[in-house]
């Protein structure tokens, strides 16, 4: 009898423990939702005075005048999108080459160390990229890369305008290059992972027909994985949009839209990081910075959500 009572008590404790534990887990899940909701709401509330003062034209106005308190997001949205897209253009071919090497070309014993090395690129803190970019890459750009580009492409009609102007070293192109290196490991890792998921039978049949390695990649692996590859590229784009410290070091930080890629510019994240210290609590400028933050959040949310949607088949495994 007494054992029966004890057992019943233990079962009740188990039930209570189960309820508590499940409740704690679910509450933690709810907390994550609250965090995201909180970020959206707080940024919007903070940006509200600026949205009220400037209305919808805030999105494309290129003015940024702290003295007369007129602010617009046009230049920094332009800089954010242009540097991120350029970074993608530079990073995707490199990432594909790395993923191709790691899945098909390199001997198996070499794959793990090389893969780890590329992943370590993702671990280097953003500020280190900023210092490296500012003290090493920018001088190299000014001395060698930009003069070469000016001489070779500067005269070409059409695209020539992109490669003109004084070679400062810093600017849109340098920022895009640093961003490209930073997002490279994310895109390469995603590509490698999805390439590895192609059933070997598919590849073996193509090899059996006499295809070369590249033909197998182009005709079998890429078509099989193209949606996930696009997801990996979007993930890189999302990362590039919000990158702050590295860009702040090398973009030149000027509020203007240059026609040349060598010109200085800014991005949403770099403006917020640089101007925040000079904004007084409750000022319209601070509100404009929070409004910029809200715009950046919406941009990266759309890109990251698309990325996840494209990668969902891979995530379900």
């Amino acid at each position: 009898m007494s054992t029966g009572v004890r057992r019943a008590a233990a079962a009740r404790r188990g039930n209570l423990g189960d309820a508590l534990f499940a409740g704690a887990c679910q509450a933690a899940g709810g907390f994550v939702l609250l965090l995201l909701g909180g970020i959206i709401v707080e940024l919007f509330i903070g940006g509200l005075p600026a949205f009220r003062a400037f209305g919808l034209p805030f999105l494309w106005s290129t003015e940024w005048d702290p003295v007369s308190e007129v602010f617009g997001a046009g230049v920094s949205i332009y800089g954010t999108v242009v540097t991120a897209v350029l970074a993608i253009l530079l990073a995707v071919p490199l990432a594909f080459g790395i993923a191709f090497t790691l899945t098909e070309l390199a001997p198996p014993w070499l794959r793990r160390p090389v893969g780890t090395a590329v992943e370590l690129l993702a671990a280097v803190p953003s500020i280190i990229y900023g210092m490296w970019g500012f003290f090493l890459i920018a001088p190299l750009m000014a001395q060698y890369v930009q003069p070469t580009l000016i001489d070779s492409l500067g005269e070409v009609p059409g695209i020539g305008a992109l490669f003109q102007g004084p070679p400062f070293g810093t600017g849109i192109l340098t920022a895009a290059l640093i961003l490209a290196i930073m997002i490279l490991p994310f895109i390469a890792a995603t590509m490698r992972d999805v390439f590895e998921q192609v059933p070997p039978v598919f590849k073996e049949s193509a090899y059996g027909l006499g295809c070369t390695t590249w033909e197998v990649m182009r005709g079998v692996v890429l078509p099989y994985t193209r949606i996930s590859v696009a997801g990996g590229v979007m993930l890189g784009l999302g990362r590039a949009l919000g990158e702050t410290m590295a860009v702040t070091f090398v973009i030149g930080n000027a509020n203007r839209i240059s026609t040349t890629l060598f010109g200085p510019g800014n991005t949403i994240a770099s403006v917020v990081a640089l101007e925040f210290g000079e904004s007084e609590t409750g000022s319209l400028k601070l509100s404009a910075l929070l409004a910029l933050g809200f715009i950046l959040f919406v941009l990266s949310f759309i890109v990251l959500a698309t990325s996840r949607f494209l990668l969902r088949s891979r995530l379900k495994g």
């Binding site: 499940a22 994550v32 500020i127 990362r239 919000g242």
Partner: protein, 295 residues
């Protein structure tokens, strides 16, 4: 599938062309394979260049006073002690706060909500947070904790870093728990154990090395975060362990010193950059070897 005809799959109409076609295919293959190897080489060169720059400039500036002196005005022999200690305090506290929350969320996703609608939403939101710009998390904490509570503080920095580490722990916890075979769970439940005991004593224990890996990777990530701290713990040039006041941190000190016009400050920034990168890379390598051993 790929739109254009694949030469390997098109029947050869004129046998005389076959060798030429085959030569062209092999050449294309060789060119692209070489370019891929070059791309990999470029990636490795970037990593090597960053490390070499850090070692050359960082070791040149490294001496004992970096670890024993606090930050001082330019011209006087200063160090980074307060920044290092401030970073350690904030990172450790953020990890202690963020890890349990992240583990609970990951456990919820893997053990309770594999097919639930709410679970899908939580998983989606956590993945968005994982890649969301960290500067926005800093702005959020500024609005939430700095403005209403009278100024920049170490606690605000801790909160921002904790928010950043949570989704990292969620992702690895869920991934690691999903690898555990269901038969193990059924065996434990079959012995009459309540579910929470099954999770704590069996699931968590089996996934332990994976979860630790995730936490270590998370620590490596938040140790180098700069942008969110600009709006939260702000930085401090004096020795401070008071979490209610602005608190120094290594990344913020590096940021302000690297952008300064003073040569000795720039050198200190390089020393700090070397310290932080070595710590982050060692954490990464350690975490990976831990996972490799577990397999």
């Amino acid at each position: 599938m790929s739109g254009t005809a694949n030469p390997a799959l098109t029947p050869v109409k004129n046998p005389g062309n076959a060798t030429r076609l085959s030569r062209r295919r092999k050449r294309t293959d060789l060119v692209i394979r070489s370019l891929s190897l070059v791309a990999t080489g470029i990636g490795l060169v970037f990593l090597a260049s960053i490390l070499i720059t850090l070692f050359v400039k960082g070791f040149g500036a490294m001496n004992l006073s970096v670890f024993t002196e606090v930050t001082k005005p330019p011209g006087s022999e200063g160090g980074l002690l307060n920044a290092i200690v401030g970073s350690l305090i904030q990172v450790v506290l953020a990890t202690l706060i963020g890890t349990p929350i992240g583990m609970l969320v990951g456990t919820y996703l893997a053990e309770y909500a594999r097919d639930s609608r709410f679970g899908d939403v939580v998983r989606f939101v956590s993945d968005i947070l994982l890649s969301a710009p960290s500067i926005l998390i800093g702005l959020f904490v500024y609005q939430l904790l700095v403005l209403p509570f009278g100024g920049f503080s170490g606690w605000a920095g801790v909160a921002a870093l904790a928010i950043i580490i949570i989704p990292i722990v969620v992702r690895t916890t869920e991934d690691m728990l999903s690898l555990i075979p269901n038969t193990l769970r059924e065996a434990v439940i079959g012995l009459g154990s309540p579910k929470w005991k099954m999770i704590v004593l069996v699931s968590w224990r089996s996934a332990l090395s994976g979860i630790i890996t995730g936490v270590l990777l998370g620590i490596a990530r938040i140790a180098g975060e700069t942008a969110p701290l600009l709006f939260t713990s702000l930085g401090n040039n004096a020795w401070s362990t008071n979490l209610s006041a602005p608190m120094p941190s290594l990344p913020i000190t590096i940021y302000s010193y690297a952008g300064s016009p003073f040569q000795d400050w720039i050198e200190l920034a390089w020393a700090g950059a070397l310290i932080i990168t070595l710590a982050v890379l060692l954490l990464n390598i350690g975490a990976r070897s831990l996972l490799g051993r577990g397999k």
